[in-house]
């Protein structure tokens, strides 16, 4: 409960709930993570301690996706566990820690390497630290998601240790592990999100009945993804990993059947998750085939997972959370389609061009998808940003 007038009004609104500042920053991070790519690909090379690919992947996974996860988790945990949310100064501190990590990583090569590592690694522990006191007293703790996020932190530690030469492995392998674990987190989080969005979609389309989502399917999908993350790290190009990737792809496809609910499937809050699941299955299947000897470009396929599966899910979750937590009800505005459409176009270009026309890669495979991607996230900001900057429409706090 802030005394009025102590903080500026906009600042107060933005810090009223965790999703507001972080969802405002996710698009910025998403754009920033592709901004230097055209420069790098058209000749100018980065001067940091990691290659440009690892830099870009790190910013997407541990910068952009981590901010989205933090914004989602710190917004959802209070309603799952009945604990008070992180707001005000503590939230501002978290945002600053995140920003410090991003700035430090941008200045990699200028700042001392260990300082960059410290600044970048501080964010997830800070998020845990801010949520733990409340969670310690809660009766129902989302342990599964917490464990996966600890895994993501471990992957980032590994990333920096390889960069500093203190641990075996490569930064690229560490960032791949981070993305694989993010997919697990998404698979688990969808179990909490889909009942709400599918329920709303069923209601909008006048269908009766509960959302009917089986926990068994969700756990199977998540378990195969965990197995894939482990295999992908221990033996990346082994045929065993290939089969596990194929199994994980099938488990994701299996889950999609729960969204086959007639007209409800065509509502954005369902169809976009459905598409993201499809991208995840396609990416895993492609990686599986590549592991078994098919001539696919694994880097392109990772983009199916990172852009198609992870980002599409993130954008949809951000849209739904921004809608509900600003006191609005379904349906989502029509403009919700713009950002996903651009991101899907970017994904298709990024994945298809290296397979079809490798020689056109710099323009059609990097510059074009980067522009579409940035356009998508800026479009999201244009549609939902004003909601995040304004108080709840129903006058409640948060």
């Amino acid at each position: 409960m802030r005394p009025p007038g102590e903080q500026s009004r906009a600042g107060g609104v933005v810090l009223a709930y965790a999703f507001r500042p972080f969802f405002l920053l996710v698009p910025v991070a998403a754009v920033a993570a592709v901004l230097p790519l055209p420069v790098i690909w058209t000749g100018l090379v980065g001067a940091g301690t990691v290659g440009s690919a690892a830099w870009h992947a790190h910013e997407q996974v541990f910068g952009c996706l981590a901010a989205a996860m933090a914004g989602f988790a710190l917004t959802a945990f209070p309603s799952w566990t009945g604990t008070p949310p992180v707001t005000g100064r503590r939230l501002a501190a978290l945002v600053l820690v995140w920003l410090a990590g991003r700035i430090a990583f941008w200045l990699d090569g200028i700042l001392p390497a260990s300082l960059v590592a410290l600044a970048d690694l501080a964010f997830l522990p800070a998020v845990f630290g801010s949520a733990l006191p409340a969670l310690a007293t809660a009766t129902r703790r989302p342990v599964d998601l917490g464990l996966v996020m600890i895994g993501v932190l471990a992957a980032n530690v590994w990333f920096h240790m390889t960069r500093l030469g203190a641990m075996p492995g490569t930064p690229d392998a560490a960032v791949v592990l981070g993305l694989d674990l993010m997919l697990v987190a998404i698979a688990l989080a969808l179990g909490r999100i889909l009942p709400v969005t599918l329920g709303a979609a069923l209601h909008e389309t006048g269908q009766k009945g509960p959302p009917r989502l089986s926990p068994g399917r969700r756990h199977f999908a998540a378990a195969t993804l965990v197995l894939f993350a482990i295999a992908d790290t221990v033996a990346p190009r082994d045929p065993v990993t290939g089969w596990i990737a194929l199994a994980a792809a099938c488990a994701q496809l299996d889950r999609m059947v729960e969204l086959h609910r007639g007209a409800a499937l065509w509502r954005p809050q369902v169809l976009l998750f459905y598409l993201a699941q499809g991208f995840m299955a396609a990416g895993l299947a492609g990686l599986g085939a590549a592991g078994l000897g098919a001539p696919f470009d694994p880097t392109g396929l990772r983009h199916l997972l990172g852009m198609g599966a992870a980002s599409l899910t993130v954008v949809t979750v951000m849209s739904v959370v921004s809608l509900r937590h600003t006191g609005r009800g379904f349906p989502l505005p029509r403009a919700v389609w713009i950002a996903p459409a651009l991101i899907v176009a970017a994904t298709v270009a990024r994945v298809a061009v290296p397979e079809i026309a490798p020689e056109a890669m710099p323009m059609l495979g990097v510059v074009l998808p980067s522009a579409l991607w940035a356009g998508g996230f800026l479009a999201w900001l244009a549609v939902f940003g004003p909601w995040l900057l304004a108080p709840r429409v129903d006058g409640k706090p948060g």
Binding site: F72, T75, A76, S79, W80, R140, P142, G191, R192, I193, L194, P195, V196, P210, R212, L213, S214, P215, R217, F220, T224, L227, A231, D238, P239, V240, W243, I244, L246, A247, A248, A249, C250, A251, L253, D254, M256, V257, H260, G262, L292, G293, V317, V320, V321, R324
Partner: protein, 273 residues
Amino acid sequence: MITLRARLAQALDYVWGGWGAAASLLLLVALWEAGHAAYGTLVLPSPRETFAALWRMTLDGRVWPAVVETSRNALVGFLGGVVVGGALGALAGLSDMMRRLLAPIATLMLGIPAIAWVVLSLLWFGGSGLAVVFTVLVTSAPIVFASAAEGVRSLDGALRRMARAFRVPRRVLVWDVYLPHMLSYLFPAVATALALSWKIAVMTELLSGAGGIGDGLATARVQVDTVKAMAWILVVVALLLAIEYLLLEPLRRRLLTWRRELPGAEARDMPGI
């Protein structure tokens, strides 16, 4: 009345459910691949080698005739077993005397190991398809017998009296009361017997050299060709999976709808976002 559209949607969902089964099987294949990496081709050929061998064998025209032969023998034996076991079981269910006469014999037959029947039928019928049919019949009949007897015996007399009091036509009585009741007893036994009949058929073929999949396996064993042996095993497994998922499971869903899901058994989840 269920519309065609809803039927199609149901069918799509069922076929889509195959992805879950595929995921589970692919994990097994991953384990297989790891076993191959650990022990080499002579002990366990890699999945890809095996699939390639199976493909070559199919192109050579060796797989399909064997599948047809084994399936024919297994099916004839199985149908014989269902008719014999079902008829005797119904008798035992209707008459207490027959039950006293037949039940111990069925228990004894059930106790004789399948491999003993294989040896006996080879001695009696030689290495022919008849040996396979007989072995399958004699192993599947006691399974069906027990459930048929139990199904008939437990037919609800009160229901029959009520049906008579309400003058329910005989056709309706048989179709809507007796048949569903019998099916709930018979179906699991028949399904088990059907799956078993293929395995027994392959085993008998292997020992008798009567042709079919079992004969292919025997040849692979003599040639110490693990790849070919695995390929033949794949054929058997594929057949069993096809029977289970394309025949038995859809039937089970159709016939036993009433025992599928208990209300309230759905996800009790934490609140969402």
